[in-house]
């Protein structure tokens, strides 16, 4: 069940812009913990087995990044040991871990983005801002599978006349491949002109372009969008008054635990867990519906 995915594309897009943008800026331990845990839980909720497959990539990446920083940076006061006269400090190690956490969290958010923001949603959204460009984008997206299909036909036809690119000497193979590509491009360009002329004949550019879409902006979309914007700004306020600032050098700053800071931490938690809440809520609803059937 993917409940958050059914929201209007603008809601999804603003959520990811807010989340990824803020995750890139905040280097505060509390904020990093929040973002990595929400990213992991949303990933598990959305991708399940796929997420555990990706783990093999993320863990070495994490350790690699955590190791690189203390090798290059020698700032900090808590010196552990000296390697070739350069200090390896606790601050640099923890800063490396912080950076690694941030990068892995952003990667995880992007993999959620790739599940939820499918290309049709992206093109729908940018068709309003930039119609010509999004038209180019959507035509190009459509052409890729079409070219693949045409490519197999060309390859088969060439095989019949003895230009099989899978056999023969290397030079023969290269010659055949270039020939196949060349045929494809000739076909594609002439075909494109046909399409363009028929677009023109049907009145492209006379009025504003209309596009079919199945996305309707409902009341719940407005509600969630308002919530995202509100929480985004409250986190910006937190950034301006300095709640999100944390120093690793020359030595660690203090993590604040007063009332205002805790409230700001909570607002960040709420912002990042919006999709997760809808996923869990949708799953529970589905289960109760199934049990009453």
């Amino acid at each position: 069940m993917k409940a958050f995915e059914t929201f209007h594309p603008i809601v999804l897009f603003s959520f990811f812009v807010a989340t990824i943008g803020l995750s890139m800026i905040f280097m505060h331990p509390v904020y990093l913990t929040i973002t990595i845990f929400s990213a992991i839980s949303l990933n598990i909720a959305l991708r399940r087995q796929l997420f555990f497959k990706d783990w093999k990539l993320y863990v070495p990446l994490f350790f690699l990044m955590a190791i690189i920083n203390p090798m290059i940076s020698h700032n900090g006061q808590l010196v552990l040991l000296y390697v070739n006269g350069n200090a390896i400090t606790v601050e640099a190690i923890l800063y490396g871990i912080a950076i690694a956490t941030m990068i892995v969290a952003i990667m995880l958010w992007f993999s959620c983005y790739n599940v939820m923001m499918t290309s049709d949603k992206f093109i729908y959204l940018f068709g309003k801002v930039s119609p010509a460009l999004s038209l180019t984008l959507s035509i190009s997206l459509r052409l890729v599978p079409r070219f693949k299909h045409q490519l197999t036909q060309i390859v088969q036809a060439q095989k019949v006349i003895g230009m099989d690119f899978t056999t023969g000497s290397l030079w023969h193979r290269i010659k055949c491949t270039v020939r196949i590509l060349s045929i494809l491009i000739t076909w594609a360009l002439d075909n494109a002109i046909d399409t363009a002329d028929s677009m023109k004949a049907r009145g492209y550019g006379v009025k504003k372009r209309t596009a079919f879409s199945i996305f309707i902006f409902e009341r719940r979309d407005g509600f969630v969008l308002a919530m995202i914007i509100l929480l985004f700004f409250s986190n910006l306020v937190a950034s301006f008054i300095g709640t999100t600032t944390y120093y690793f050098y020359p030595t660690f700053g203090a993590v604040k635990w007063d009332m205002t800071s805790i409230l700001f931490y909570i607002s960040y938690v709420i912002l990042l867990s919006i999709p997760l809440v809808f996923e869990i809520w949708g799953a529970l609803k589905w289960r109760s519906l199934k049990s009453t059937m």
């Binding site: 690189i68 010509a132 038209l135 180019t136 190009s140 060349s182 491009i185 399409t195 363009a196």
Partner: protein
């Protein structure tokens, strides 16, 4: 005349806007948020090209030709998915730039990056790839006017240049994402560790340019002359 104005605007953007936003990013964010600032700069750098394309109200034929060339380079990237770094995208973008001009070159490169990442997955690297491939197409477009690229030696040199250029650009992102802040020491480290990739980029660019430059540019020129587009 109109074409010259577009070229001047592009130059102003590259030489003035980007350094300015870099400076603003460093002063406002107090030298810390490299990761965020670099991505914003990359997106900003692409916007003027898209804007000028949008404002011009392009004809369907221009849109289709750019879409076709991007789709071919995406299909090429998918075809060579097993060989890391060995991709025809830069070469096809450059050839489009040679024949159809700087703007079409930039758009082909940028759209190829965006569309191919719709198949392979978007990430924080998307704006960097868009800009880097776009710039390869743009530079190719500027060079294409000189008719120098019909000879083999300049073509080989351009392929090597495009490989090094792409590698240097992507390593800026690599440095920032691995190290968190940008320092020349870390950048040098990233560059030296990426030398094998740089060599693969250069070799693949040279091979694809030598093989494809003549047939594809002949076809593009034919379409250009026959239907009078993107003159």
């Amino acid at each position: 005349m109109q074409k010259n104005i577009r070229l001047i605007i592009s130059f102003i953007v590259i030489l003035v806007f980007i350094p300015l936003s870099l400076y603003a990013g460093i002063t406002i964010f107090a030298d810390r948020k490299y990761y965020f600032v670099s991505i914003v700069i990359m997106i900003l750098a692409c916007v003027p090209f898209f804007l000028s394309f949008e404002r011009r109200k392009p004809q369907p034929r221009e849109i289709l030709v750019i879409a076709v060339m991007s789709a071919i380079s995406v299909a090429g990237r998918a075809l060579f998915v097993v060989t890391p770094g060995f991709k025809p995208v830069a070469a096809i973008t450059a050839i489009t730039g040679f024949s159809l001009g700087a703007e079409a070159g930039f758009l082909t490169g940028a759209i190829s990056a965006l569309v191919s990442n719709m198949f392979f997955g978007q990430g924080p690297w998307t704006p960097f790839q868009m800009f880097m491939w776009g710039m390869i197409g743009f530079i190719a477009g500027l060079l294409g006017k000189t008719r120098l690229m019909h000879k083999k030696i300049p073509l080989i040199l351009f392929g090597i240049f495009a490989g090094i250029f792409f590698s240097f650009g992507m390593d800026v992102w690599g440095t920032i994402s691995m190290y968190g802040v940008f320092s020349w020491k870390a950048y040098a480290l990233a560059l030296t560790s990426a030398v094998p990739f740089m060599i693969i980029y250069c070799i693949s660019n040279v091979i694809f340019l030598l093989l494809l430059a003549k047939p594809i540019s002949e076809k593009l020129d034919r379409i250009k002359n026959k239907y009078g587009i993107l003159q």
